[in-house]
């Protein structure tokens, strides 16, 4: 095994030299996670908004369930999606197992509850503030959703970024449904797990540095958005 200093030197060399394998893995990770977040947002934002502005029997139960789903263990999601997509599963005919699409599906399942729950909170706050104003225009219930989503745009961007953070750092689900196949389904997190077990710390560290860089960037964006939102709220 290389020493830490050697590994770090190797890692920085891989990053700075534009190593094709490394950047292909980063590219696939971003493609899978960002696609999953976009799909989860298309589902989660309207769903969260509807939960925020409507009242129906069982609404509180649905909210508790969605909040609970935010903490879904990735390996359990991976297992569930695996069972659905495996040859003997209900969606086996689609032959999606061990493809990036299977990884996207698993990440959508993981991220959608986060975006739904956070969107509900954001839109509910907006609804409390604007219900009378929009009601004065004759806008009530689901008719207020487009306006409330726009007014909550900073908070919703934070929800999206939280989803990106969850997706990009997740390893268990994509490992199970993707299979960690080289050049096909190998993403940053699964590569780090594999290369570490092989003792090739250079590649693992390089990807770790990039992953941490992405995590810091996402969190910096969240902090910026939160500040911008606060400025808009209290200016």
């Amino acid at each position: 095994m290389n020493g830490f200093a050697d590994s770090l030197q190797l890692a920085l060399g891989l990053i700075l030299s534009g190593d094709a394998d490394l950047w292909a893995i980063v590219g696939l990770s971003l493609r899978v996670s960002l696609t999953a977040v976009v799909i989860a947002a298309l589902v989660g934002m309207p769903l969260g908004a509807v939960l925020a502005v409507t009242r129906f029997a069982g609404r509180k139960g649905v909210i508790v369930l969605i909040n609970a789903l935010m903490g879904l263990p990735p390996v359990v999601v991976g297992l569930a999606v695996y069972l659905m997509l495996s040859a003997s599963g209900p969606l086996g005919v689609l032959q999606l197992l061990y493809t990036p699409t299977a990884m996207i599906i698993a990440q959508v399942v993981l991220v959608a509850p986060i975006i739904t729950a956070l969107s509900r909170q954001v839109v509910e706050d907006m609804h409390a503030e604007y219900a009378d104003y929009l009601g004065s225009f004759g806008m009530r219930g689901v008719r207020t959703i487009p306006t409330l989503l726009w007014e909550g745009r900073f908070g919703l961007t934070t929800a999206l970024l939280a989803g990106v953070g969850r997706a990009i750092a997740e390893v268990g689900a994509v490992m199970i449904v993707g299979g960690n196949i080289n050049h096909v389904t190998r993403v940053m997190t699964t590569t780090i797990a594999l290369e570490t077990s092989k003792g090739d710390l250079g590649m693992a560290l390089a990807l770790g540095v990039i992953l941490i860089g992405l995590a810091i960037s996402v969190n910096a964006l969240i902090a910026g958005m939160t500040q911008a939102s606060a400025r808009q709220s209290y200016a």
Binding site: E129, Y130, D132, Y133, G135, S136, F137, T147, E151, R153, Q232, S233, Y234, A235
Partner: protein
């Protein structure tokens, strides 16, 4: 905030408000009842608001004034009774100005959204509304970065943008300085002269004397008096209204 000359005010309002001569708006309330608290019921057996002028709703804190105009405007459903409005649209200005997290310009555009206007007409209306609100030159500024007075003037301009025949205001100047209060009162007086019915809640008796044509005095959820403003101040019929004017009435 730019000063608002009478000529500009009249010209702006002519461009913004519905033309006189349209159908009279009539709001009729029958059998309205709603629990305000455990021991207080808003109880309005009959009330009609029509024609023009400014009706000021007075009463102690908790008398049910704000709840009454919320129900008249359709924001809160009463437990019983009916509120029927015919003859055009309504708008409401709230005590704390409610503005979207957008620019001044975008707030006004949102208020105009229900009107099918050509691009040119919309631009012209927006210019007049900015003039009314005294915010020319600040159209690109975030609405929520304005001063309290500017925010309320913008909220009033947004309400007027909707061409209401009936305009509700819930203590719109309660937290404003004299300059902003004067501007809003000047606009409201002219709006009323142009045929719009105004129903306004206020605690400021000086403002009531300056603006009101009639006073609707509410006590413990019931209308005790409805009188022309001069009669109300010279000698109201009810003991409650007399006690209110002398500062002795408490809920």
């Amino acid at each position: 905030m730019r000063d608002l000359g009478r000529e500009i005010l009249v010209q702006s309002l002519r461009q913004v408000l519905p033309e006189n001569g349209g159908p009279d708006s009539v709001l009729t309330v029958t059998g309205l009842r709603s629990n305000l608290s455990d021991d207080l019921v808003l109880d309005i057996p009959r009330l009609t608001l029509s024609g023009t002028g400014i009706s000021m709703v007075l009463g102690t804190n908790g008398a049910g004034k704000s709840m009454l105009i919320r129900m008249l405007h359709g924001l809160t459903k009463p437990d019983a009774g009916r509120v029927i409005f015919t003859g055009g649209s309504q708008a409401m200005v709230f005590q704390n100005p409610v503005l979207l997290r957008r620019s001044v310009f975008a707030n006004l555009k949102f208020a105009l959204k229900d009107q099918r206007l050509s691009r040119g007409d919309r631009a012209e209306k927006l210019a007049y509304l900015l003039e009314l609100a005294g915010l020319k030159g600040k159209e690109r500024q975030s609405a929520r970065s304005l001063s309290g007075g500017e925010e309320q003037c913008l909220a009033l301009a947004c309400a007027l943008a909707r061409r209401p025949r009936l305009l509700f205001l819930d203590e719109p100047t309660s937290s404003l300085d004299p300059t902003a209060t004067h501007r809003i009162e000047t606009i409201l007086r002219q709006v009323a002269l142009m045929g719009i019915k105004i129903v306004m809640v206020s605690h400021d008796l000086g403002q009531v004397e300056r603006l009101a044509d009639e006073v609707i005095f509410l006590n413990r959820g019931r209308i005790c008096e409805r009188l022309p403003v001069e009669s109300f101040f010279s000698g109201p019929d009810s003991a409650e209204a007399r006690a209110y004017l002398s500062g002795q009435l408490v809920l």
